[in-house]
C-alpha cells in the first residue's frame, strides 16, 4: 500500500532562518567615480580597496592616536561561522578582505562566495549573499576573496569560479553576472575589483596552472565587457621576443594580475601587479625574460592597452610573483611608486614611465641573487638542475607576500610586513596538462629559522628607519593613520598598534586567531573604528608552514575607544 506523503512545502533561503533583515540603507547610489577620486575628503568612509586610488592604506582619521590607543577595545565582533562547508582544507574559511564602509554601512566579502552588508556601528548583519563555487574549482590558495568595490548603487565582487557579479547594495540581489575566467583551464578569481570611471576592473587567478593571465573591464551599469588586457603577449606582440619563438610557453605563461591595481587619474594609468611565470620553477621551458610576468604594468583604463612596464624579477625561477601593490606617492616633485617585492627588494619608480629611481633590499636574507642600484640582476642560486635541491631566501612566499604595505604622508615613510623565511626547491620537470598544477619542482618551505617584522622605510634613501621585530614572518596588511599610528596583525593572533615614528609598541589585543587580511578605518556618528578581519587561511603552507596548526577562526572585529 503506497504511503501518503505529507507536503513539506518549498525550501527556503537559509538566511530567512536568521535575524538578518535582508535590507541595508541606500548609501551606495551616490558613490560615484568622482567621490572615489576624492576618497580622502570623506575620511569617515573607506570607499575603495586601498582607501584611495593611490594604494597608501592611510586613514586621515586621528581620534584614535598615540595618546589614547592604549584604551582601544572591541566595539563589536562579526563571526559568521567558518563551517557550513565541506572543504576540509587548512587554507579555507578565513577573511582575506579589506572592509569598505560607506556612510555607516560596511561591505565585506569572505570565503566561499560570501558577501555581507553590516551596520558599521553595531556589526549587525543587514544582508548576505553567497555564490556557490564548485567543490572542484582549481584553487592554489584557499577559498578566499580579497574584497568588494562599491559604486552606482551596487557592490561588485568576483567569485571563485571566475565570475564578476554586481549586487544591489540595498538587498544583495544580483543585478548582473558575467563570467570572465576559464575554469577548465584552471583559472579562478579572488581579486577585489576596482571601479574607475564607468568601469569595474578585475584580474584573473590561476598562475600555478599554466594559464595566460589577464585583466578585464566591465561597464558598471550593464556588465558589458569593455576590454581584456593579456599580461603575456602573443607571438608578434610587443614583449613576445622575451618568450621562445617556437612552442607554447607564452600560452601557459602565467602573469596573473590577482591583486587590485592602483590608479593615477592625472596620468590616466592603472598600475597592475603581475604574478609568476609558469611553470613557476622550471625556467628551461621558457628561456627569456618572460614579459610581463613579475612586473608592474601600466595600462590605459579606457582601452586596456599596455603603456609601460617594469619587470622586478626577469626570468623568475623562484615563484616571485610581483602582485604586491605599487603605492603611488610624490617625492621631490616627482610622481613615484613604491613596491616591496617578493624577491626582497624595495623599488621606487618614476610612475610616468616606470623607470627606476631606487632599489634597495628590505629583508635581511637574500640569497637567490642580487639587484644592484641600477637594477641589474645577478642570479646566485636557483633550481636549475633536475633532482638537485636548492635552498634560497626569500622562499616562494616572498620577503613580503601579497598583504599590503602602507604609506603615511605625515611621516613620509612606508610600513611593510616583512617575512624572512626561506625554502628548498628541487627541479622536477613535468608535462603540461590543462588544469593540473604546473610548478615544475618539489618545494618545501622552511618550518624553522625564520623571523619577521613591521619595518619602516624612507623612500628617499631606501633605508630602514625602524623595525618592530617578531619571531615569525608578518603576513597581514598594514594600516597607517593620521593618529601617527601603524596597525598590523600577527600570525599568533595579536593585533598591534605601533608609533608610526618610532615603531614603539603602544597597544596589543589577542584576536584569537592569526591575521592574513587588510584592516581599514572609518567613523560613524563621530566615533572612529579600526575594522580588523581575521582568520588564518590562504596559502599558510606556503608563507608560514611552521604555524599551519595555529587556531583557524574567522572573525571581523571593530575596535574603538570607550565612550
Amino acid at each position: 500500500m503506497a504511503t501518503q506523503l505529507i507536503d513539506a512545502g518549498e525550501a527556503v533561503d537559509f538566511s530567512s532562518l536568521s535575524s538578518v533583515p535582508g535590507k541595508a540603507p541606500d548609501v551606495a547610489s551616490g558613490v560615484t567615480y568622482e567621490r572615489i577620486l576624492n576618497a580622502r575628503s570623506e575620511p569617515h568612509n573607506w570607499l575603495t580597496y586601498y582607501g584611495a586610488y593611490d594604494g597608501k592604506r592611510y586613514s586621515p582619521l586621528n581620534q584614535i592616536n598615540k595618546g589614547n590607543v592604549s584604551k582601544l577595545r572591541p566595539a563589536w565582533i562579526f563571526q559568521p561561522g567558518a563551517a557550513m562547508g565541506i572543504i576540509p582544507g587548512l587554507g579555507t574559511y578565513a577573511f582575506e578582505a579589506s572592509p569598505l564602509v560607506v556612510d555607516g554601512v560596511m561591505f565585506v566579502s569572505g570565503w566561499d562566495g560570501y558577501v555581507w552588508a553590516l551596520d558599521a556601528r553595531t556589526g549587525q548583519e543587514l544582508w548576505r549573499y553567497k555564490h556557490e563555487a564548485p567543490f572542484d574549482v582549481s584553487l592554489c590558495c584557499g577559498n578566499v576573496n580579497r574584497g568588494v568595490a562599491v559604486a552606482d548603487g551596487k557592490v561588485f565582487v568576483v567569485t571563485l569560479n571566475g565570475r564578476i557579479l554586481a549586487l544591489d547594495a540595498t538587498t544583495g540581489k544580483v543585478v548582473w553576472n558575467r563570467v570572465y575566467c576559464d575554469v577548465r583551464a584552471g583559472e579562478s578569481a579572488t581579486v577585489a575589483p576596482l571601479v574607475v570611471k564607468n568601469l569595474v576592473i578585475v584580474g584573473s587567478s590561476g598562475g600555478e596552472f599554466g594559464v595566460r593571465g589577464h585583466a578585464d573591464a566591465f561597464d558598471l551599469k550593464t556588465g558589458e565587457h569593455a576590454w581584456r588586457c593579456y599580461m603575456v603577449p602573443k607571438p608578434g606582440e610587443p614583449g613576445s621576443e622575451t618568450w621562445p619563438a617556437d612552442g607554447e610557453a607564452w600560452a601557459r605563461g602565467g602573469a596573473n594580475p590577482w591583486t587590485t591595481p592602483t590608479f593615477d587619474p592625472e596620468l590616466n594609468l592603472l598600475y597592475f601587479n603581475t604574478g609568476n611565470p609558469c611553470p613557476d620553477f622550471d625556467g628551461d621551458v621558457r628561456p627569456g625574460d618572460n614579459l610581463y610576468t613579475d612586473s608592474v604594468v601600466a595600462v590605459d583604463p579606457d582601452t586596456g592597452q599596455i603603456k609601460n612596464h617594469y619587470q622586478y624579477t626577469p626570468h623568475d625561477i623562484w615563484d616571485y610573483d610581483s602582485t604586491m601593490e605599487n603605492i603611488l606617492f610624490e617625492m621631490d616633485g616627482r610622481k613615484c611608486s613604491g613596491h616591496f617585492d617578493k624577491n626582497g627588494y624595495f623599488f621606487v619608480l618614476d610612475r610616468t614611465d616606470c623607470s627606476l629611481i631606487r632599489v634597495a633590499p628590505f629583508v635581511d636574507r637574500i640569497t637567490w641573487g642580487e639587484i644592484d642600484e641600477k637594477g641589474n640582476v645577478t642570479v646566485r642560486v636557483g633550481p636549475t638542475k633536475e633532482g638537485e635541491p636548492v635552498h634560497f631566501f626569500p622562499g616562494p612566499a616572498g620577503a613580503k607576500e601579497w598583504t599590503h604595505a602602507a604609506y603615511n604622508p605625515d611621516t613620509g615613510l612606508f610600513y611593510v610586513p616583512v617575512q624572512d623565511i626561506g625554502a628548498t626547491a628541487t627541479l622536477r620537470r613535468r608535462m603540461f596538462k590543462e588544469s593540473i598544477p604546473y610548478w615544475g619542482a618539489a618545494v618545501a618551505v622552511d618550518t624553522t629559522d625564520y623571523a619577521g617584522s613591521i619595518s619602516a622605510f624612507d623612500p628617499k634613501t631606501g633605508k630602514e628607519t625602524w623595525r618592530f621585530r617578531r619571531d615569525v614572518p608578518m603576513c597581514s596588511s598594514v594600516l597607517t593613520t593620521a593618529g601617527d599610528l601603524v596597525f598590523a596583525g600577527e600570525p599568533d593572533g595579536m593585533f598591534d598598534a605601533l608609533d608610526a615614528r618610532s615603531g614603539e609598541l603602544l597597544w596589543q589585543f589577542q584576536c584569537g586567531n592569526g591575521h592574513h587580511s587588510s584592516p581599514s578605518s572609518y567613523s560613524v556618528d563621530g566615533q572612529q573604528y579600526i575594522a580588523v578581519p581575521t582568520g588564518w587561511g590562504g596559502w599558510v603552507e606556503g608563507f608560514l608552514p611552521g604555524r599551519l596548526g595555529n587556531p583557524h577562526g574567522a572573525a571581523l572585529i571593530a575596535f574603538a575607544l570607550p565612550d
Binding site: T3, Q4, L5, I6, D7, A8, G9, E10, A11, V12, D13, F14, S15, L17, M84, I86, R128, Y129, K130, H131, E132, A133, P134, F135, D136, V137, N161, G162, R163, K173, V174, R178, V179, Y180, C181, D182, V183, R184, A185, E187, G210, V211, R212, H214, H225, Y230, K234, E248, A251, R252, M431, F432, K433, E434, S435, I436
Partner: protein
C-alpha cells in the same frame, strides 16, 4: 610496492560499503546511483531525489545537470525518520525540513562546469552517508575562454 601487488581493488568491491552499519558505521561516499536531470525546452531542469528507508543516502546519489542554470528539485523523504536538506544555490543556500514520509520542492541555481555537494546536516546524518552530489557538465562559455591554442588535458 606497486598497488596491484598489495592487493588493491576497486572501492566498489569493498563488501558492505553501500550499507549502513556494515563495512563501517555509515555508508561510504562514492556508492549509490546516478541520474540525469530532465531538461525543459527553455533550459531549466528538473529532477526527483529520494531518501530511501533506513539507508541514510540520497537516491540518486549523483544528480547530473547537463549545463549550469536553474534546477527544480522534488525531494521525497520515504524514510521512517525526519531529515533536513541544505542545498547549494547562487544567492543563498536552500533549506528544507522533511518529516517522515514527506515531499518538498526546491529551486536552485548553479554554475557549470563543476560539482557541488549537498547534505542532510541533522544528527550527523551527513556523516552516516546523507551526502549528495550535483554534477554540472559543460564547457567554459566562449567569452571567458583564454585566447590560446587548444591545450592537452589529463
Amino acid at each position: 610496492m606497486p598497488a596491484a601487488q598489495m592487493g588493491a581493488f576497486p572501492v566498489s568491491e569493498i563488501p558492505g560499503i553501500d550499507k549502513q552499519n556494515a563495512a563501517t558505521l555509515g555508508r561510504l561516499l562514492g556508492t549509490g546511483r546516478a541520474a540525469y536531470a530532465e531538461a525543459y525546452a527553455d533550459g531549466r531542469m528538473r529532477a526527483t531525489v529520494r531518501i530511501p528507508v533506513d539507508e541514510l543516502t540520497f537516491d540518486p546519489r549523483v544528480l547530473i545537470m547537463p549545463h549550469g542554470g536553474e534546477l527544480e528539485l522534488e525531494l521525497i523523504n520515504e524514510d521512517d525518520n525526519t531529515h533536513v536538506v541544505l542545498l547549494p544555490s547562487n544567492g543563498d543556500r536552500k533549506f528544507i525540513g522533511l518529516v517522515n514520509h514527506s515531499r518538498g520542492r526546491a529551486r536552485i541555481e548553479l554554475d557549470g562546469p563543476g560539482h557541488y555537494f549537498y547534505y542532510g546536516p541533522f544528527g550527523n546524518d551527513e556523516g552516516r552517508g546523507l551526502v549528495g552530489v550535483i554534477l554540472v557538465q559543460g564547457e567554459t562559455p566562449p567569452e571567458a575562454r583564454l585566447d590560446r591554442p587548444p591545450q592537452p588535458r589529463p
